[in-house]
Symmetry: C2
Subunit: 275 residues, 2 copies
């Protein structure tokens, strides 16, 4: 019977006045009466029911627009189900995301506590696009460092064809476990479409990687093992698992062994361990 003015109603419903005005504007909760002269909004107690429904849906994470659809466009039960299911999947996804955030920050915190500095290596997760038209040699070589000769071979091949590399050189290590010798290695250089291969030197496309853990290393190759240590540690600690050969990208590099300005990116394809 009685009409409530907006602030009285907002107290009843524990919502801010500003929110009520917004819900009115978006068509979620129109006041029972609006004075045409003064534009004052007057609500009835019965509307608390609707307000509660709005708040309940909001507490599930639905947007005002979605709530409007549910409340106004009176959908079929199937449509409601579909909508809620989509949202449910979204929420599950967000939970996983949140757990990852928490794990990452906890690891960082631990590092700061123990070492009193931020970690030297920042591992990030990302996706890697496929890379088309790369020159590749794959071979079992006696030791990691020998990949240099494979790369020189590629560079020489390029020089013969008067072509330039189109991107940084890289190598791919196909052994999943760590090996000191007889390493299954692949040397890579991105080239333009015009370049041709040979029996030994193939033209191929590097597959995309859905999710990699990546780290940037600055300094000579002799200290790369620190970066490897950090990334492997991170992967284990974060509940991931290596799912394929890892890549080493020489963003800034060359033939010298000890250049402190070299920059290398390490990429390990990973997936969440299913517990």
């Amino acid at each position: 019977m009685a009409f409530y003015k907006i602030s009285a109603f907002s107290r009843l419903g524990q919502v801010s006045v500003k929110a009520l005005r917004l819900y009115d504007q978006r068509g979620l909760l129109t006041p029972a009466r609006v004075d045409p002269e003064t534009s004052y909004r007057y609500y009835k107690v019965e509307q608390l029911h609707r307000l509660h429904r709005i708040l309940a849906l909001k507490a599930m994470g639905l947007s005002l627009e979605q709530i409007g659809q549910l409340l106004n466009d009176n959908l079929s039960p199937e449509q409601m189900q579909a909508m809620l299911k989509v949202k449910q999947a979204e929420l599950k996804q967000q939970l996983v995301e949140g757990q990852r955030r928490l794990q990452t920050i906890t690891a960082h915190l631990k590092h700061v506590k123990e070492e009193h500095t931020m970690p030297n290596y920042d591992v990030i997760l990302k996706a890697v696009e496929p890379v088309s038209h790369v020159l590749s040699i794959r071979e079992t070589i006696p030791a990691y460092t020998a990949v240099g000769t494979l790369l020189t071979e590629l560079v020489d091949h390029l020089a013969q064809q008067q072509a330039q590399p189109q991107g940084p050189a890289a190598s791919i290590w196909h052994d999943i476990e760590y090996k000191e010798q007889d390493v299954d290695a692949e040397a890579i250089i991105v080239v333009s479409n015009a370049v041709t291969g040979t029996d030994r030197i193939q033209i191929k496309t590097l597959p995309a990687l859905e999710q990699v853990a990546a780290v940037i290393h600055r300094g000579p190759y002799s200290t790369l093992n620190q970066a490897y240590g950090a990334i492997i540690h991170w992967i284990e600690e974060s509940g991931f698992q290596v799912t394929g050969p890892n890549r080493e990208i020489y963003l800034q590099g060359g033939a010298e062994q000890d250049n402190v300005n070299y920059v290398t990116e390490l990429q390990f394809p990973v997936a969440k361990v299913v517990a």
Copy 2:
């Protein structure tokens, strides 16, 4: 050595150009060189390291401003720790929130599947402020419905003092378990400061409730049990526990038993069950 233009660098770092410009503007990642004539931004590979750190911190949920503090205002390890701890607590909180959302939506989804409608009662969680200056009678009464006589007693007392109620009437049920008879009940009416009490009728302040599950019932008191059923069910299903006496607020009510326009709010103080 080589400088990269913004889009080349953005490809290296897997970040959008727009983001790089933003990071520049916010002082997170200033290009190695900016041409003073053209304002072109030129980056060096070494800066990937810093970019990775930014992305890593972002992946933990820190805001750009916080990242800026961590990177630029070189804080003491203690300050870093404090900052990360705050964020960690925030993330934990968000996780709990997310789990609640998910539970709620799952319950709704189940209801839609089984009944092909949205639930009739929308339970929401909220905080309740303390209510000062209320008139109260507490007594053991033979049955729920007898609370009406207590309320009439309060209303009569008000009338004697020529005063008006300042808000809706309510009752509080102090028995935590369900009882059919000999119920420990309290009748409540909010009044202005001027009103005085008696031996039997006390003036008191209702305590705040940190977290209540609340539901709005529309219809006669005889159907209130449906609302009770719904809210109790919700509380159990959502992993909460009733922690105190529940309140019944007669937002729109009166002495008749069967008025379909009555509106009543039920409030149960709750807390998350510690598993």
